[in-house]
């Protein structure tokens, strides 16, 4: 087994080694309850990362996910009062719409995806600030319990948000592995010119990938706002970096084509373990950002497929 074959096993090996390392530092870490808490805490971030995976899988990037999630925390809180549980599908549709617009701008107008999503993120930020009146909003406890009570609490000892995240993982996995869409995205990620040449509706599939990312970002925002019982246009700040780190550390390279949502699952767990280990090692929260920034650089450098980028701009 040479290095190249080994490369795809890096992510889970990293995860196991990290977990053992932290386990040696503090044996309590490996207790089941602690591991479940860990997984529960990372659920929201993981859902956002799941969506971003689809966009990175086709070799693009989505920098708007955090802004969309921010906006959705506000909209969900506002909509809950008027339409109750229907706020959920509406929020997801709005998220998908924003993602779709990013995809539209990126494909039809040939604007690079990082600029297109940055711009759409700016619009989402504006909407969130406008709708909230630039202040934090709170959900009515009874309404929240009625409409979204099922999202919080535990079932059989497992946090509900973790179960939701796992269900969404399965949905994403089915899309990726068992649908025409999944195949098409793989083809686009593996080699876009070839996908175009073989008659694939590349632009349409790319727009769908962006829409999926927007929808998942919205679900992350919705879950987060239910969890914290409110919304604000800055609530999900700090999600973007670890979410992208989760995708890349999991082994989906910036150039796309390989990896996928299962990799992101492992990547999100790696992020969770790193976060926890930093608590044990007394690393201040601010330093985490520095560390994740460096991890991101490292992960990109290791995973990127340099045969696909002729000149690195």
């Amino acid at each position: 087994m040479n290095l190249h074959n080994l490369k795809k096993h890096f992510p889970w090996m990293t995860l196991v080694l990290l977990a053992l390392f932290v386990g040696i530092l503090d044996p309590n870490f490996l207790r089941l309850e602690n591991l479940i808490d860990l997984a529960g805490d990372i659920s929201t971030l993981f859902i956002m990362a799941l969506g971003i995976t689809f966009v990175i899988y086709i070799g693009s990037i989505d920098l708007s996910a955090q802004s969309v999630a921010n906006m959705i925390t506000v909209l969900a809180t506002l909509l809950l009062v008027h339409i109750g549980a229907f706020a959920a599908p509406v929020c997801i549709a709005i998220g998908a719409l924003f993602g779709f617009v990013s995809g539209l701008v990126s494909t039809r107008f040939k604007v690079p995806s990082f600029i297109a999503t940055l711009a759409v993120g700016g619009i989402a930020l504006s909407v969130g600030q406008y709708a909230s009146g630039q202040k934090a909003l709170y959900m009515d406890a009874t309404l929240r319990e009625q409409a979204f009570g099922w999202m919080i609490g535990t079932t059989a000892g497992l946090p509900r948000e973790m179960i939701i995240a796992l269900v969404l993982l399965v949905v994403a996995l089915v899309i990726e592995r068992r649908t025409v869409l999944g195949r098409a995205l793989k083809a686009i990620g593996a080699g876009e010119p070839a996908a175009v040449a073989s008659g694939l509706q590349v632009n349409r599939y790319k727009m769908i990938a962006f829409a999926i990312s927007g929808a998942f970002a919205a679900m992350a925002g919705l879950l987060f706002s239910v969890k914290l019982s409110g919304g604000s246009p800055v609530m999900a700040n700090g999600f973007l970096l670890p979410a992208i780190v989760a995708v890349l550390v999991g082994g989906t390279p910036l150039t796309g084509g390989v990896g996928g949502v299962l990799n992101t699952f492992i990547g999100a767990l790696i992020v969770a373990v790193i976060r926890t280990s930093m608590l044990y090692l007394n690393v201040p929260a601010t330093a985490q950002q520095i560390f994740f920034g460096l991890v991101l650089v490292g992960a990109i450098a290791i995973t990127i497929d340099r045969t696909k980028v002729r000149t690195v701009k």
């Binding site: 920098l63 700016g122 930020l125 504006s126 601010t286 520095i290 990127i304 690195v312």
Partner: protein
């Protein structure tokens, strides 16, 4: 000054300036208060820090790369400047002036690191710089512990408080820095090399240019201008903190693109960026004068950048875009 005339003619070249004039005329008609020296001075003040940052990033976009690290770099520069400044007596009258060159050096160092990560590890500049921007924000948070550092030296604040010809000193200083940037862009080998790399990296490489070195130099140079932006931002508010850098990324990239510097590199320049920054700030100011809330700005900027990129793109020349 290089132009865009080979694709789109003179109209495309002058379009940003025409848009600026049209906006000024429009807002003046909506509210006559807009067209006054007092209001122009206000626009000048708000445009100064983003102008410096956008000018720095212009060099990078001319090379066909992009820099998204400015929020982190500006935060680090501002915090380091304020810390040194206060440690050395807290006034420009004493040894505190040493903090000014130190700040510029820190800016250059930030850019150098970003450039080295991008070129050395061969990863796309938008991700390299985004990551380093996060690192910068983390660094500045660590240095301040989330606190604000007050810089109240009247001599330093005179950048804002002293006026000359109706405009604060910082506007005049910024104009001198802009002339310096123009000099680098058009009269130095380094400036020409930016256009060479942006116009076609393979060709630049084939003609013996050390493309990697030019790229790193470009990022370091941009860092110096981010440091100028940080200095003006601190002078404006009298406060240095991590939030000093917030929002500069979006505003500066929008300004550059709106000014007519194409994202693909090889065209545009610092005068385009001046026009772009003025367009963005005139719109912001005009919306406030018209009574629209401040937060509409991000949405408008988002639309602007999309429109500007679309208009400036020669789409036939692009096979596909990631």
């Amino acid at each position: 000054m290089p132009n865009l005339s080979f694709r789109g003619g003179d109209l495309q070249r002058w379009a940003p300036l025409l848009v600026l004039v049209a906006l000024v005329v429009f807002f003046s008609m909506v509210n006559p208060n807009f067209f006054s020296l007092k209001n122009f001075a206000r626009i000048g003040i708000s445009a100064t820090p983003p102008l410096m940052i956008a000018v720095g990033a212009t060099f990078i976009i001319i090379m066909g790369s992009i820099d998204l690290s400015m929020e982190g770099a500006v935060a680090v520069c501002a915090v380091v400047f304020a810390s040194i400044f206060m440690a050395l007596g807290g006034t420009l009258g004493g040894w505190g002036w040493l903090a000014l060159p130190a700040c510029l050096l820190v800016g250059a160092a930030c850019g150098l690191v970003t450039g080295a990560v991008h070129v050395g590890l061969r990863i796309p500049s938008f991700m390299a710089s985004l990551s380093m921007g996060f690192v910068g924000i983390g660094l500045s948070l660590m240095m301040t512990g989330g606190d604000r550092i007050r810089v109240e030296d009247p001599l330093f604040r005179s950048l804002l408080t002293q006026r000359f010809l109706g405009f604060p000193l910082m506007v005049h200083v910024a104009f001198v820095v802009l002339l310096f940037a123009w000099f680098i862009q058009s009269k130095t080998t380094l400036g020409r090399n930016f256009y060479a790399v942006g116009g076609g990296e393979d060709l630049a490489h084939a003609s013996g240019l050390n493309v990697r070195r030019v790229r790193i130099a470009g990022f370091a140079l941009a860092g110096v201008f981010y440091a100028f932006g940080a200095l003006f931002a601190v002078a404006q508010l009298g406060i240095a903190e991590t939030a000093t850098g917030y929002n500069f990324m979006f505003v500066s990239i929008t300004s550059i693109v709106v000014g007519g510097t194409a994202l693909w590199g090889g065209s545009g320049g610092v005068w385009n960026t001046l026009v772009g920054v003025l367009i963005v700030n005139v719109i912001n100011n005009g919306m406030i004068v018209m009574g629209l809330p401040r937060y509409v700005q991000d949405g408008v900027l988002g639309l602007l950048v999309i429109i500007a990129v679309v208009l400036s793109t020669d789409r036939k020349s692009l096979a596909f875009v990631k």
